[in-house]
């Protein structure tokens, strides 16, 4: 026989891809409860991951809402005439990082104060208006508030700037911690989820190592053996992601419709959350299902 046989490696026939698809699909059923165990393992893992993602996404949103409500007050000097207030407002607005500037005139402030004092408000009568004009300033990011406040305080005509000095840094540190923690937590969870899923698949394939070895001994190429496993793994990942995605979608829709929360704490609308969460679930499921399966069978191909 000629030595040229060594070059006998050819591309796979198209028909063979069809076979892989069919075999992969069949295997799903032939492996019976083993498939069930693997799919349900993947589904449960992704469900946990999905719930955590949804919570995290909403948490981020709530934090953003609250942050956007953080503000400080700038009191205008008494001697500044009302006509000059728009100019000051404009000056404040033109600082970088300002989101919104609202003028509260001394008249508005007084009526608010009267409301606060309630029946005792009479006592303020005949006093004139002791209160100054003020601006309520909202910043793009709460982190910049101390800095912006000091800038604003230097604007001509501004007497004083006031903000919850103790409150903001405290809030900020908690926000930062919650946000960072939740991001770390989610990343860790995705990694662990991937680990759990690939673990399940690894064990599942371990039960079929003999099968793989036999195929190899009968002359199957690695690609030929991988084909159906790839299809099977993909389907497994797909089903394993589909189940939690349906549960999450329906469940979240229900909760979001029925639980009425007030603005800063409101749940984000269903489609926005799902558009962020579901792709991650499918990506993890599919990737680990198909790719993880192929990887963990690799060692049994060395026959």
């Amino acid at each position: 026989m000629p030595e040229t046989r060594n070059a006998g490696i050819t591309a796979m026939k198209i028909r063979t891809y069809g076979r892989h698809g069919k075999e992969g699909f069949k295997n799903l059923f032939r492996n019976g409860w083993m498939t069930f165990a693997a799919v349900s393992g993947v589904a449960v893992t992704l469900l946990i991951l999905g719930v955590s993602l949804i919570i995290s996404v909403n948490l981020q949103n709530i934090l953003t809402n609250i942050e956007s409500e953080l503000q400080f007050n700038a009191y205008v000097m008494d001697q500044v005439p009302t006509s000059q207030l728009p100019a000051i407002k404009h000056e404040i607005s033109s600082l970088g990082g300002i989101k919104q500037v609202t003028l509260i005139t001394k008249e508005q402030a007084l009526s608010t104060m009267k409301k606060t004092l309630g029946p005792n408000a009479d006592l303020l009568n005949g006093l004139g208006n002791p209160l100054p004009n003020e601006f309520v300033v909202k910043a793009d990011s709460p982190k910049t508030i101390p800095q912006l406040a000091s800038l604003v305080s230097k604007i001509k005509g501004i007497q004083k700037v006031q903000y919850g000095a103790s409150f903001i840094p405290r809030m900020l540190s908690i926000f930062t911690i919650v946000r960072d923690t939740s991001v770390i937590f989610i990343i860790a969870l995705v990694i662990m989820g991937m680990f759990l899923i690939s673990n399940t698949i690894k064990i599942t394939i371990f039960t079929r190592r003999r099968e793989i070895e036999i195929m190899k001994l009968v002359g199957a190429t690695d690609g030929f053996i991988r084909g159906p496993f790839f299809v099977e793994g993909t389907l497994l990942g797909l089903i394993g992601a589909f189940i939690p995605s349906v549960i999450l979608n329906q469940g979240y829709y229900f909760i979001q419709k029925n639980v009425v929360l007030f603005p800063p704490f409101a749940l984000m609308p269903d489609p926005i959350v799902m558009n962020r969460v579901l792709p991650i679930l499918y990506a993890v499921g599919l990737l680990i299902g198909a790719w993880g399966g192929i990887m963990s069978m690799r060692r049994y191909l060395r026959v």
Partner: protein
């Protein structure tokens, strides 16, 4: 053509199964491999399709230099060698006919040809009525015959058989042997490890006797030997 040049095989646990075996089997020969239990017959055979790799020495099978073979070439080498394993090695998840067909799917034969050949082979080994059964629903001898059918279905140029009649009654054993002889007549090399003295002595072919990892005897038209 199969050739071994000073082949040694030491397993990981330190057992030396083959010690300096050199042999040349021409294309189209029919060779019996005999010897006591644990002598190294299966090891000798496993080296031919690279289930095991030699610790030392060179092996050539049908134009392939076995040790030099790159990993991705191994399957193509194995397609020229039909193997009947001592422990059958059937795919438990596939039916009898699927097991036989598998060897043809691997070489991407057409569906029609596959169906035709599988049917032929199952007729030859007498298992047409068990075609839809799974291996664990078969008797020992039936499983062995499935293994035979799978090894032959591709018309490989070499057939190596490790005790292919160990679980068969004399009648069936004869049938398998006749099948081998027919295939051999068409030019296929056959290497068959066996304990079946009756078969060996009745057919008188080349006999290689292995004892304690060495070739103790190599006779054309030999007999089983070891008479007490």
């Amino acid at each position: 053509m199969i050739e071994m040049q000073d082949v040694w095989k030491e397993y990981n646990n330190g057992v030396t199964a083959l010690q300096g075996v050199s042999v040349r089997i021409a294309q189209g020969e029919f060779v019996y491999v005999v010897g006591p239990s644990g002598a190294g017959k299966s090891t000798f055979i496993k080296l031919m399709y690279r289930e095991e790799r030699p610790t030392k020495g060179h092996i050539f099978v049908g134009g392939f230099n076995i040790e030099r073979l790159r990993d991705r070439q191994i399957p193509f080498m194995r397609r020229h060698v039909g193997v009947i394993f001592q422990d059958f090695k059937l795919l438990q998840k596939l039916t009898v006919e699927e097991n036989v067909a598998f060897a043809m799917e691997v070489i991407e034969a057409s569906k029609r040809l596959t169906r035709k050949r599988v049917k032929e082979m199952l007729e030859l080994v007498g298992l047409v009525d068990k075609a839809k059964m799974f291996p664990n629903e078969l008797s020992g001898g039936e499983q062995q015959r499935v293994a035979v059918a799978r090894a032959l279905v591709n018309k490989p140029s070499v057939i190596v058989a490790d005790e292919p009649t160990g679980n068969l009654d004399p009648d069936n054993s004869w049938q398998i042997l006749k099948l081998f002889e027919r295939v051999n007549d068409r030019g296929t090399t056959i290497v068959m490890a066996t304990h079946n003295r009756e078969l060996v002595n009745a057919t008188r072919k080349r006999v290689i006797a292995i004892e304690q990892g060495q070739i103790a005897r190599d006779e054309e038209r030999g007999d089983y030997g070891y008479e007490d």
